[in-house]
């Protein structure tokens, strides 16, 4: 089943810094670990535009250990990037894409995100009542964590 996400968040860091940090696996790991219910086991860059990783994701009854890849589909520095993620976990799979548009705003960065996700297997068949709210929970916490992490890192 499909879910759609979109929103924007203000990051307290200049756009060039944000752009660079966005592709740093350490930033992504720190960000993900800030999301309640998410624990990253590993995340590594395996090619120019590709990351490989594993994480435990669990919200309410929807729990699983996922492994998957993140691929950069499109990139226009320093303002636009589109990722695709594919993950699987036992009898589940999840995939989705997310586009980020970065705009300068008084030395800070306005980050607009838009994406679609799809899940299958047990996640879809017993989780359909929850998946929308779980998805939103993950994205809300994720973007907030990303903004915090980017701001913190850029001050280092």
């Amino acid at each position: 089943m499909a879910l759609k996400i979109q929103g924007n968040i203000l990051v307290d860091a200049p756009r060039d810094r944000v752009w660079k940090l966005l592709f740093d696996p350490q930033v992504l790991i720190a960000m993900a670990n800030k999301i309640p219910g998410v624990e990253v086991e590993r995340l590594a860059q395996i090619a120019d535009d590709q990351y490989d990783g594993a994480a435990t994701i669990g919200v309410a009854m929807i729990k699983g250990k996922y492994q998957g890849t993140i691929t950069v589909l499109e990139k226009h520095a320093p303002e636009f990037v589109k990722f695709r993620g594919d993950g699987k976990s036992g009898g589940n799979w999840a995939s989705g894409d997310m586009a980020l548009t970065l705009a300068e705003q008084d030395g800070k960065t306005q980050m607009q995100y838009e994406g679609t996700g799809n899940v299958g297997g047990m996640l879809a068949s017993v989780g359909q009542r929850l998946i929308d709210s779980v998805g939103k929970h993950l994205i809300e916490h994720g973007t907030r964590a990303l903004a915090e992490e980017l701001a913190a890192q850029s001050k280092k």
Partner: protein, 781 residues
Amino acid sequence: MATQIIGSTVKRREDPRLITGNGTYTDNMTLPRMAYLTILRSPHAHARIKKIDASKARAMPGVLAVYTGNDLKNGGVNPIPVGWVLPDIKIGPHYPLALDTARYTGDGIAAVVAIDRFTAQDALDLIDVDYEPLPVVVNAEKATQPGAPQLHPEAANNIAFYWKIGGGDVERALAEADGVIKQRLINQRLIPNAIEPRAALADYQPATGQLTLYNTNQNPHIIRLLLALVLGQPEHKLRIASPDVGGGFGSKIYLYADEVIACFASKQLGRPVKWTEERTENYKATIHGRDHVSDVQIAYKKDGTITGLKVKTYANQGAYLSVFAPLVPTFLYGPMLQGPYTIPNVFVEVYGTNTNTTPVDAYRGAGRPEATYLLERMVDLVALELKMDPADVRRKNIIPPFLNGVYQTCMAYAYDSGDYAGNLERALTNAGYVELRKQQAEARKQGKVVGIGISTYTEITGAAPAQVAASLGAAAALVESALVRVFPLGKVQVMTGSHAHGQGHETTFAQIVADQLGLEVEDVEVVHGDTDRIPYGAGTYGSRSQAVGGAAIYVATQRVIEKGKKLAAHMLEAAEADLVFEDGKYSVKGVPSKAVKFTDVALEAYWPRKVPADVELGLEATAVFNPSNFTFPDGTHVAMVEVDPDTGKVTITKYVCVDDVGKVINPMIVEGQIHGGIVQGVGQALWEGAVYDDNGQLLSGSMMDYALPIASYFPKFETSRNETPSPVNPLGAKGAGEAGTVASTAAVANAVMDALKPFGVKHIDMPLTSEKVWRAMNGKL
């Protein structure tokens, strides 16, 4: 005392065992050295399997084996066959585990056998499968369109079969009619939901080559036949034993992949292997029911006479053809579209199509609820168009009584006996129909949303007369055997192929024998569900058990009586022709004092004193019953509903029915079957529906997501019966297991549509959930 046990309410003998938790179900069974099987199922509805890496799972402590589709195929396992073969059918092979393509979410990809259930479950997560997702189609009609994803190379455009049947000249009827109504009707997909999920325990003995499969099944002998073909296991070294079975509603008729894999694993490992289905697996890996999309045209005259019906149906078969799948939307559906009416021109064509969904097969009613719903909705649309009372349109078209003969329909079938018109009137009278209409008018004045629905039906049961099936082009026969064995002290064992899974056969079959032999019900033990103990059988489904299985028992009992008569003649020193058998005694005609008890004859049969040496001893008989025709129960159901104008919630306020299921063996059991049937049919009308998304993901995959009816949703049912004995079998039985389900869906759907009439709503598709009804009332569909 003249015993009249047939037709009397005897309490179900199996219930003390079952309701005190002393039943034996397959999953209760444990054998020494038993291992546990789990199955990895595809999370994709359609995907190429690029690679399966099971090395980590194989290395896990406690794991005995991991099998893939190719392991099974290379081990000699054949695809699961289709048991009802239509002309020109296109069968995409159904291997127990997918070879290179997964075709629905639930398709088996790999199997793990481990020393305990937890290890077997955990090891599934260690199997790494590389899938390449393929385009998906879930809709039966879309599957046939150009460019649709193709499931099997064997079935072009995903059409597994095309079947048509007709009588009269429907095109002429449409051309000459006063009016024609066209309507698309969707009969949604349902999930059977037996309370006991499936289970299989395979026990192969390497020393003897004997394979025993304990399983949750409605027809062990058919499973033996199919399993012998799939595994290459010789049938004389193959035993299927189904202990207590906790419901099936059709879903436990078939040979499933899981059982085949358990048997294969047991043979490979030389130890017993058990598989137990989880509820979430049950939703995906056990068959679904219904799922028709139909375009209908009905032709009528101004006076309400229906002159023609033309139907085109897309019947979703799911990813593979299940064992009896092709039977359901053809023989059990198409020819039943004339229903209880005198419609002279009917034509139906059916496309059975493959889609990326769970296979569809017979589910309680199987074809007849689909036919009845379609026809009864159309009859109501005619009434609406002509501004006639729906009862009057039915009166205009209903078949007149044919109590002692047959009624030849315009299509293949000849109905066996019935008083359809009388039952319609009885139901309307019992419901107080005229008064209900007054109440409805009054309620509407008060702003209430109230509707009355009628469903008049005839259905087809008693499968299957081999000659009739063959004459219609099907290679299938479903006969039933019975062995009645009398022991020396006069107790009786009955072996029946009609294996019960909740129907009370241990009671009703014993009633038949006790009634005939003049014994008590307690003197008769009914044995079922074991191919090593029972000569042959085709099982319990299609409301066939009394009409075919009970008939076989009746015939075998008569043979026992005849055999006993030979012995009694010698004991009484009288001519056999002069003897009569009554009330458990053989006596000389006209000399009642010269008699010998049946139990004494039983002793003589094994400990002869008076019988000469050339007379055959023993007292048992076998009968195989091959009926001359199907049986056709009928009736009328009337429902009244009230709709909450604020929420759209439908409440059934009255439910009245009259059914003719033929001669009744046990009224209480029939009553129970009718009640359960009504509930299951109303489930489809108001709540149930399997939902797939466009990716072929089953979104209604648990009891939290799939709405099942519960007792508090219903009023008291006012049932009654009118018994017209069927001439097809010696018991006169027709069949009661599905009548309620066949009738009730349309009764309630028609009642809701009647309630919505003031809102200008002519038709909405089921399930008629609160949201859908509210939207219809508020013009927001």
